[in-house]
Amino acid sequence: MTPPPVLRIERLGKRYGATLALRDVTLEVAVGEIHALCGENGAGKSTLIKILAGVVRPDSGSITVGGKPLRFGVVGESERAGIAVMHQQPTVFPDLDAVDNLFVGHEKTRAGGWWLDRSAMRREAEATLAALGESFPVDIPVGNLPLAQRQMTALARALLQNCRLLILDEPTASLSARETAALHAAIDKLRQRDVAVLYVSHRLDELFSIATSVTVLRDGAHVLTSPLGAIDRAGLIQAMVGRGAAEQIVDRARQGDVAPSHPTPGRPMLCVERLGRAPTFYDVTFSASQGEIVGMAGLIGAGRSEIARAIFGIDRYDSGSVVVDGRRLGGGSVREAVQAGMALVPEDRHCEGLLASLAIDENISLAQLPRLSRWGFVRRREERAVVGEQIGQLSIKLGAPSDPVHTLSGGNQQKVVLGRWLSTTPRILLLDEPTRGVDVGAKAQIHHWIRRLAGQGMAILLISSDLPELLSLCDRIVVLRQGRVAGEFRRDEATAAQVMARALPDNPLPGIDQGILP
């Protein structure tokens, strides 16, 4: 006799305009189960999570939690039902310390429910964190803590509030391997306390190591549910993409048998000399030549994105120089960098890339406007031509170019940001984690573009936490450690083990992460 499932989703449907985000999805999660949810971007995972969190109201179907039906579209109802949702960026209260974060809304009180019992809360908070295998100061604002500890805070909160179903949405996308292992250990402890877990991730290896069963969604529909022991990696990918080709490209790339993008790089385009900005990076020297793909590897927090920001002129640097095609840049000016032929596709699409207040076409042409305007007036016809070319080239799926950007799907939004910079025909392209959180098919497509652009003579700096990606794409790999260059490898010298060895700090300081690359 098995206990009733914690979560039962029946024939759930949701339609956004013309697109069906979910069609008759049925899903069950049992007590103490870690249930993986897989699917490409746009398969309906995020819609499902939003419905479970009470943010979105479905059109049809029903959800029962612990045997009781869940009322839809009521914020707070899910938490009352025992559902806790944890996103990639955990939603904690940054200005509150860990104790308050754990207890807010369910505070322990004395004297008739008015007076806070801080000492009791503090004791219990420390005990809960210890149960998850963590110990960090509980009396500083959690906004000052590293991401991994903020996630632990959110997990501990879920544990304290007797959550019955924990939903994790790409929790490890920004974590190092050590932090990921700690998180998985904590999740396992939760499971032992009869918490059911719905785990969403693009990292298949991770799913095989932690989950007990898996459900795959494709185009909003349920494809399969099976225990993880009964399916292998290839089968899972097959179910997700429904086509074998895309994964083959990636697999071949992972094995490294694709020819180098450009056998003989041309003249040096980007020379970075002893660049430094306290306290993130110091004495960084490297160069990239025409048609060369230079990878930048390192742990999270090693200063890679910050270096890209400084090269591109978003931040000023304290020392050193950036020379583009023999011309030295003054630094601190994006305009100057753009005029020198540089382009940066940032890491975070929503905060750093897209402009929700502009239409799709305006987003694409934004970086080009000085060239597309005369006396300040935008020449609409030429703008339309440029935008049309990018939409076609990147096959962006849209209604009309003048629609708002939020009407696009996530992958197409990423293409809009890419298109903005490709339309400036840059000579140097800085890519910061271009494939993070992107599904397998789109990833292969992006790899294909990167190779093609390098083949056209562009110098490319590729920042990535995905080591196989770097190894397969790059002509050279620069490894950063704690803000300094720790090594440089040519394509034929580089192995994953060597790169990792250089990326690890030799004398770990307290608080410095010692994990290895994912």
Binding site: V92, L116, D139, G143, L145, L299, C351
Partner: protein, 373 residues
């Protein structure tokens, strides 16, 4: 990460993710710990380890030192400044602003703003005069004063409901209320000034007990009550939590609308308290009462380091900021005899905020440099 985290929140400050005057750039005290080394987190070097729970931080220290320094310098210049009479006067002057600031501060911590308090005070003063004055309705004090207090809370409640249920941004809702209530106040006064308030009320407001008028006593009580409310009760934690991240607060099942309405209600109520204790001190009630109160209060709240995007700020700072700003006018009178100096009061107020803004920025930059090794 933290930078993005903050930028994700609608209504947060734009720019490089720094909080308002407490300009960011500091992050964790552990120089290169991952995730917090880039971008600003909260506060400057001095507030890294202090939350809103701690009684005081760097800003409070700065304000207190400034007050002491000013008192010392002016006292050295003219010892009369250090006598009880002068400080008695300062105390009485800052009492109503302190009372109102306690309410407005909670509104600001929740991420809203209330610029209607001055007009609320004008309308309530008219109500007080109309009900209690010997030339008007001649109500009993025990009927008139509760009516005024209740009306204050009700007006705040209306603003709060407009902001939450009506989804009108708080700056607009309170701007509209400010204009509207000022009109009602003038209407209620009927084009004349009111005097002849009951002797008991006037006596309490002017003389009080133990040589101190009702105003400072009430301010003390309000500050204590607000301090306990914010730091010792569940309500306080929930207020800071909601201001810190409204979306998570909603997901955590906190009554976000209720809390915000409560804050406006509380601010309205405290404005009523300030009206009752301070207005009878004046020779007569006119429609221009409280015309610059909202600016003074917002200026103090901002000067005290309360983040206008919500979630951060301490009551002790607000009280010190009010005292500092109140101090300016008597100090100017002392330094230059006569009216000439007094006219510069506002310029000095502005200067203080600019000083706070620039010093925050400077300390954030210095902090980044210092971390270099």
């Amino acid at each position: 990460m933290t930078r993005q985290d903050r930028a994700n929140d609608p209504g947060r400050d734009s720019g490089d993710g720094s909080g308002n005057t407490a300009a960011g750039g500091a992050g964790s005290s552990r120089g290169s710990s991952p995730g917090s080394s880039s971008g600003g987190t909260s506060g400057s070097w001095y507030s890294v380890r202090s939350t809103w729970r701690s009684p005081a931080g760097g800003r409070e220290l700065g304000l207190a030192l400034l007050i002491l320094a000013i008192a010392g310098v002016v006292g050295f210049h003219d010892p009369v400044f250090l006598t009880g009479v002068v400080w008695h006067d300062i105390l009485v002057r800052c009492a109503p602003a302190i009372i109102v600031s306690c309410g407005v501060m909670i509104v600001v911590v929740l991420g809203d703003i209330d610029i209607s308090v001055g007009s609320i005070m004008a309308l309530l003063a008219a109500l007080l005069g109309r009900t209690l004055s010997s030339h008007e309705l001649q109500w009993s004090v025990w009927a008139g004063v509760p009516l005024v207090l209740l009306s204050g809370a009700m007006i705040g409640c209306v603003t709060g409901m407009l902001v939450t249920l009506g989804r009108v941004p708080s700056i607009i809702a309170s701007l509209g209320m400010m204009t509207l209530l000022r009109g009602f106040a003038t209407l209620a006064m009927g084009g004349k000034n009111i005097d002849g308030l009951p002797e008991a009320v006037v006596h309490a407001s002017k003389t009080g007990w133990f040589g101190i008028p009702l105003g400072p006593w009430a301010a003390l009580l309000v500050v204590l009550a607000t301090y306990i409310l914010l730091t010792r009760t569940a309500l306080g934690v929930r207020i800071y939590a909601t201001g810190s991240h409204p979306e998570s607060a909603g997901n955590a099942g906190l009554p976000v609308y209720g809390l915000r309405i409560f804050a406006f209600c509380y601010a309205g109520f405290l404005t009523a308290v300030a009206t009752v204790v301070d207005v009878p001190r004046l020779p007569k009630i006119e429609s221009g009462i409280g015309s610059e109160l909202e600016l003074f209060v917002i200026t103090s709240v901002v000067l005290s380091g309360v983040s206008i995007s919500g979630g951060r700020g301490r009551l002790s700072g607000v009280v010190l900021a009010v005292v500092l700003l109140t101090l300016v006018r008597p100090v100017l009178t002392f330094l230059s005899v006569g009216e000439a100096g007094e006219k510069w009061t506002k310029a000095i107020h502005g200067l203080f905020i600019l000083l706070a803004v620039v010093s925050d920025r400077f300390s954030a930059t210095m902090d980044r440099r210092k971390k270099s090794r």
